[in-house]
Assembly symmetry: C2
Homo-oligomer: 433 residues x 2
């Protein structure tokens, strides 16, 4: 009998097979318990972006307690040919008992920022690699793109509506990431259920086409949703649509939505017509393949809100954040792959953001040794997990609100060049000491 619930996912299997074969070999040769430090960082900001936004940390911490190998997982591993008995016995008892430090969710990051650091016995730390990277790379890519849109929109609301353009679960995470950086709402009801993201939406062209004419559709919508609703006016002729909308809803109509055509031009015309019809407080919402550049192109137009879909959930050209999960220390000794020597510093990192007297950020300092504190320095690395237990007991909704507030605060300190949409250098230089 089908229910509304899907068979539950198995987070411990959101894992690349090679992690288990490495654990098997390390258990056999005695290295599995070596004390290790794994660090997540990005070598670059893609596409000349000026800053990135750390996102997904809360989701990783939510998943961690479920990262267990129960009968279902172990049976599947056997079926997949992972039959090493020592490995399976160890996995059956597995529980993460290590420490995790990292940038707070919503924090800004730059090349080399140690955004997430796991200290644990090798076998425990290596197991988390894929899941940690999946979550952080996806959510960070979306948040980093979304932050540029919010920054460009200059206070006008941005609404996330890209669920249909990405995997159904990625859509929920994308809505969360967008809200984190200042989007005001999402179309995705599951994001509302899981994370308390405000949800919004009224109607599509199909609703107008369903009815015998546009007026019938508008009357129906207003009867059910009230005059404060948003009417989609571009199914047939936009001017006529606006006239019909105001005729049906009256001048108190909440908003109209434009979803096609040359939006800046249409918005100017629509505003003039709405004002002429007395609907001076009716807002104009635009949608249709928007991104930060399209938003920038409409800042002079009388647009009151932006609905962003495809380009948001695909990271506006950067669908993944290029973060890597690297072993940087083993038994207290820094280690590094030879070909990466130039860019790596071994060991667990300290990181501070340095600010000038006016409170503007001037650089990021990343160091294997504690950083000599100066006025205006802010420590970036905070404890996230101790002995396998999350340091915060906030529920997922409260954690998201906290991260959203943190992001809003720290982005204020960025230098003005950070808001440039053109490709260039990171807004802050990272000093490695």
């Amino acid at each position: 009998m089908p229910t509304s619930e899907l068979p539950a996912a198995a987070p411990a299997l959101f894992t690349d097979r090679y992690e288990l074969t490495m654990v098997a070999a390390a258990l056999a040769d005695g290295t599995a318990e070596r004390d290790c430090v794994f660090e997540v960082f990005a070598r670059r900001l893609s596409h000349g972006r000026r800053y990135g936004v750390v996102a997904g940390t809360g989701r990783v911490l939510d998943l961690l307690p479920h990262f267990r190998f129960g009968d279902r997982e172990l049976a599947s591993l056997r079926e997949q040919g992972l039959t090493d008995e020592r490995l399976l016995a160890w996995l059956a008892d597995f529980r993460f008992t290590g420490d995790i430090d990292g940038y707070a969710e919503g924090e800004l990051y730059f090349p080399g920022s140690p955004v997430f650091t796991v200290r644990a016995p090798f076998a425990q730390g290596v197991l988390l690699e894929t899941l940690v990277l999946s979550v952080l790379n996806h959510d960070t890519a979306i948040a980093s793109a979304a932050a540029r849109m919010v920054g460009t929109a200059g206070g006008r609301p941005c609404i996330e509506m890209g669920a249909r353009r990405t995997h159904e679960e990625a859509a929920v995470a994308a809505a969360r990431a967008a809200y984190l950086v200042g989007f005001t709402a999402s179309s995705d009801l599951e994001a509302g259920r899981r994370y308390g993201v405000p949800t919004t939406g009224t109607s599509a062209h199909a609703f107008t086409l369903l009815h015998d004419d546009e007026e019938s559709a508008f009357r129906s919508q207003v009867a059910t949703l009230g005059v404060g609703t948003t009417l989609l006016v571009d199914t047939y002729d936009v001017d006529q649509g606006i006239r019909t909308a105001v005729e049906v809803a009256g001048p108190q109509l909440g908003a109209i939505r434009l979803d096609s055509g040359d939006l800046p031009t249409l918005a100017v015309r629509a505003r003039a017509l709405l004002d002429e019809l007395g609907a001076t407080s009716t807002r104009i919402i635009v949608t249709s393949d928007l991104d930060e550049y399209a938003i920038a192109g409409m800042m002079a137009a009388p647009v009151d809100g932006f609905g962003v879909g495809t380009r948001l959930v695909t990271g506006s050209g950067v669908p993944t954040a290029s973060m890597v999960y690297k072993l940087v220390e083993r038994d207290g000794v820094p280690v590094e792959k030879a070909s990466e020597g130039k860019h790596s510093i071994g060991g667990r990192k300290h990181a501070v953001r340095r600010h000038d007297d006016a409170g503007t950020a001037v650089c990021e300092v990343v160091s294997a040794a504690p950083v000599e504190p100066r006025d205006g320095d802010r420590d970036l690395v905070v404890p996230l997990v101790r002995g396998g237990v999350p340091c915060s007991d906030l529920d997922p909704r409260a954690a998201l609100e906290q991260a959203r507030a943190h992001h809003a605060e720290v982005r204020q300190a960025l230098p003005p060049g950070a808001w440039a949409l053109s490709g260039g250098e990171p807004a802050l230089e990272t000093l490695r000491t």
Copy 2:
């Protein structure tokens, strides 16, 4: 007490809020039961691609029985302000009872191909929009990119290993989509569990760095995984790594993996060295930011297999398939949004692929009327759901194998120009009659 299971997702809430507000209004005005046809199609193939591959159909059909509004979903809708009692009562009883037709999963598609068609009362059909598009747009984008890689690799195995570069659930769907079009394996253990995709993987640089030296790491790996394993030889010096690998495993070593540097050059050198050491049957696997172009650049090199990650799971530049879900018929009357008139044909569609005497596909015929059959025509639209019940009773693994076989068969019929990687026109023209 945490378990290995996540709280189950609620597929009915993988839905844009506006679908529910439309249903509420349609229930109030009596249009909810109007017989409607919604069609999923893509107006174009992005980036000058020559063909697309329909993927995700099986996942939609798996999700459909769970698309129900239980107490959990209804409580959330109330909390989100959707308090219309008529709507909530209707949702509580909701079960999809309509018909679905479409292209078989794995089938090729072109602009305007009616890949998925839902016939149902308006309220039922409109509810499925977001979920159907999320699944088809994501999975189709990945499959379409993966098919180009498989086509370019010309029989050499391609292995999917991009889980870390995309959302953890999208990773499972991506592994499924890649296998569908001919990838031989995936790194993702959950794809193995859920869909029976063969999984593979041996070790990462971290495993070498964990050990006191490369030789110890190789000895450990071979002891646990056998001489048939794949040794990663580029942590330090590649030549020395290969010598050590063969010394440790003997000439029966299964494979080496190269994950950095100029791969074609390295592969030539590695082959010569392996042969010199007597390891003439040891294969060379390459990984590191591969895509169809990088694979093409290595076809003259002695490479025996390609591991593809980031560029696969992000659709190689096209992370979403641009499919739309449009109301095309209402109460038997074709409908269309004015601004799209040129490209739409109302009503439920018939579609055939036309072939010449040699069996090569020559065009796609899409028509609102049945197509007069000719020799070499193949019907593309098959029944998927009747009266809410899936037409196939294959389990998800068997359905995936069936789709994989179907894809392998139909791609044989494409004209040679379809394999071009350069941007251009679709390989088949779509005739709309």
